[in-house]
Amino acid sequence: MRTPEAPRSTQRLGEFLVFLSSVSDEATVVRVAVERAAIALEAEVAVVLGPEGVVGAVGFAAGAVPAAVLVEAVLNHRFRIRVPGAGLCHLAVAPMNRRNQGYLLVARSGVDGFAADEVGLLRGMARALELTLETIRTLAAERRLMASLRQRQLLLEQISNIQRAITRRAPHQEVLDLITLGAHHLLGDDVVALWMCDPDDADMLLLVSTRGLETDVARRLWRVPLTEASVPGRAMLTDGLVVASPSGLTRAGIATDDADRIVAAMAAPVHETGVVVGCLEVTSRRRSRSYNAGDQEILRVFSEQVSLAVTDARTHEAMRRAFHDPLTGLASRTLFTDKLDHALAAAARDGTQVAVLFVDLDSFKIVNDSLGHAAGDALLIGVAERVRSCIRDCDVAARLGGDEFAVVLVDLTDERPAARVAERVIEAIRAPFLIDGKEAFVDVSVGVAIGVSGTMCGQSLLGNADLAMYQAKRNGKGRYEIFHPELRTAFTSRLDLEADLRHAIERDQLVLHYQPIFDLASVEVVGVEALLRWQHPRRGLIPPREFIPLAEETRLIIPLEVWALTNACFQVSRWNRQRTAGPLTLNVNLSVRQVQRSDLAELVARTLAETGLASERLVLEITESLFLQGTDAILERLRQLERLRVRLAVDDFGTGYSSLAYLARLPIHMIKIDKSFVDDIVTGPLARAIVQLGRTLGLTTLAEGIEASDQLDALREAGCQLGQGFYFAKPLAAAEIEPMLLNPCWSPASAQR
């Protein structure tokens, strides 16, 4: 344990110093000093005396400090004074400087006088006060000195202005003008000029910014040969600051025709990423003007600012290129993602919403293929312009690649504005584009996704919009869809289904069901239609309407149909060998994609050969949509099949492409009357008309979906030859239908019994 009294004075002195250092003006320092001295020494009175009398005091009533008494007491080394209110007090005095021009004194009532350590403390305080006052006086002198450095402060201000302009991406010219203005203002010279190398000719200088130069002179000097600009030329060639006095001035860059009046000139080079690309020049006509080190420093600083601005502008341009699609000028995917993330962060902060529109051209490939890539590019530029015209300045449009565009809409409160923008985009792009004098039409599908505040990243929002766009395409193109979570569920489910479907054949999950086809006149089975079913291990039997569209989209339809064709042919061939009645025909469905394959005829021929089914027993059912393709290649493919003696049927006749022309042009043998017409045959005329049409064209007619005897009667009466439907039998597995096909005594009536 330290002795209690030893640190007391020392630490109290430290405390005294802390209080003094917390104030900065002389009057307050004195007031604090007398107060703290009185407190530390528990005195009623504390006074600072200076050469002129009392500088500060505490303990006397305001305006009643007995200055003369105090001075007299100090000079005569009195140990006691009388203090009003406190009576006769002990006095302690400490000189404040070596010349004894000031004193700190304290007076305290009571019996005891001041102890030695207390007097020591008082001396320390006096010394501390003296030092503090000296420091404050020195600082005041320095402040006066600082005024002379105001020039430097001005320089800093000017530079700060320039930096702010660069930072806020002020136009490049504005930044350069700010620099010449700043230099002009600070140096106070007549002319400041910024010269930059002509990008088309490195030997020429362009006057890009000037201050103080007469307009007509500036116009004449806008472009001068580097070699003729002596001061700037030398600064650039030597890559250093050049100062020219009158004697050294031959021609200054800005004074080729004004050399006589120029008194002094100096120039400093400007760099872009380390390479000299120009210079900043000042000239003066002021008599006896010369440039000292300070002036040169200022010019150097300003030329560095130009270098910074130029480099920054180039960097910015490079960045702009990196972040923008070079063809359309729209934001690139990178910039788009960045902006989207920022927009989401801002929305989370402001409690607003963000929408992403995923815009995909529906038939860009046709334009590109038919009109060429240049036209395709022109179309993309046109689309970009129209997309941009549909959004506000605060929104962002981007080209993600190919024919995909995206838009971020910010500051939304709900999805309605996003839907309106989607409609506008669709409408805007639907109008014809004039490309190379030709009109081109494209549609877009738009997916809209709304960013829920704070719960979503940009990528997933874009993904949602993509999914909604995909749904829009599925729903018919030229439209928009708004993302909702069920879409993702459906999409995921579809992906799972697709994955399962890819393995369905190898895992032996596909089965064929057969629906008998009857001769309506004799009511005998004359054929079967093979129908594909998928026995999913978890989902059970999946009907074709659920997996065939998926198979068509993913091109899995091709192996599925090959499998179905092969197995059905094999099965019917086997039945035909076992049947005592006439051989059955086999109807098998072929998708558009299957018909598009060039080796279709070979495939069918090979299958017939391998399975032993007679070719004339095979009926391939195609849909009306095939005729939309209408190409010669498809026509030829169908003819190849005809040459194999395979027959072709049009499935679901009358529900799709309503042109009769193809019936005459194509090698069609049979038309299948869609169930919707059969349903109405008793009351409506359409089915009868189709039967009549078939008869007229010499085509076999087959009615689908017969469910009642009156329908059968009506069809029979109309002259329809064949029919199938639940009235006779539903599609059945091979084993189930086999008795019907192999038993010569079987009839629908016997089956119903």
Binding site: Q11, A40, E44, V58, G85, A86
Partner: protein, 380 residues
Amino acid sequence: MAIGWSTDIDPERAARQALREALGGEDPKLIVAFCAATCEPQAVIAGLSPEAGSIPLIGCSTDSVITPDGLTTQGVAVVTLGGGGLSVATSADLVSGGRAREAGAAVADCVAEVRNRRYRTLLLLTDGFVSEQELILSGVYGVVGASIPLIGGSASPTRGGDRTFQIHGGESMTQAVIGAAIGSDAPLGISLRHGWRRFGEPMVVTHSDNGLVKTLNDQPALSTYLHRLGAPPEAYEDPVVFQAFARTRPIGVSRRIGEDLRDVSSSDYFEEGWLYSSAEIPEGGLVWLMAGDTQSVLDAAGAAVDAAADALGGSAPLGMLAFDCVSRSAILGQDGTRREVANIVEPGVPIVGMYTWGEIARTQGINAYHNLTLAILALG
């Protein structure tokens, strides 16, 4: 000097009754009202103003009012000072906005109006919720110096309450300093006593900033303090236990004439391990642990009254004003507090007073702000 008091539940009625009683004295020149903090200030003013007329009126709220009947947390006690040999001037100013020193100085100016009287004092009523009490008093001292003694206290709220009020004239105020300069031809006696005594070795305040003590003997202040006192473990961990423990264990700042008590029971800096006092604990100074018990505190009350009476230089006291620290009752308990008041009340001497959040008394030196102390003004 005359006093009156009422514990009527209606503050307006209580104020009116108390003042009517107190106005019985000779030529009243000043009315001082000590009002239970439970009173609505406007109601108190409504009760006082009509009766007071042009007589200067000051007052403030208090946790408990001291009357000759004992303590009450309800009602109003009033003292009137008057007579031919008395001059009074009052003043008030707001402290808020960093004006503590200026407000103190402004209020102290009123002393000039009683300069012709032989005996003078400045009675000050501050707001206990203002943390810059010493700065106010520095402002006051800067004007009056050692020329006159100071007396008074800080307005307190009800126990656990958050509202104080002060009264000047017909106006209710907060965050103010109110002064009444009293000049008298008869002596005025001021005394202060606390009844705690130092024990153990002193500690050096090695790091402090105004009232915030960070280290004692170069060790963390709060734990050093608790360790030296042999505090239970809970006091180191639970701020509530700490507060209860520290409330009756002030530290004493070493003075030439004894120890100034500092209540360090605030838990505002408990987390940081520092001690906090509303009054300054200077760095480099010595502090002592202080011990007090019921008897020593009770004895101090009696001694304070005696000292104030003695300071009258042989004159018999006409009456007394008491400013007693709220925290003293923590060590005294309910019964002890009753006994303390009984000790204060001298038979035949009218006395009223208040429980304060800081006591003001200066007769010597420069320091005028105290904790855990009983300050008495005796009028001769």
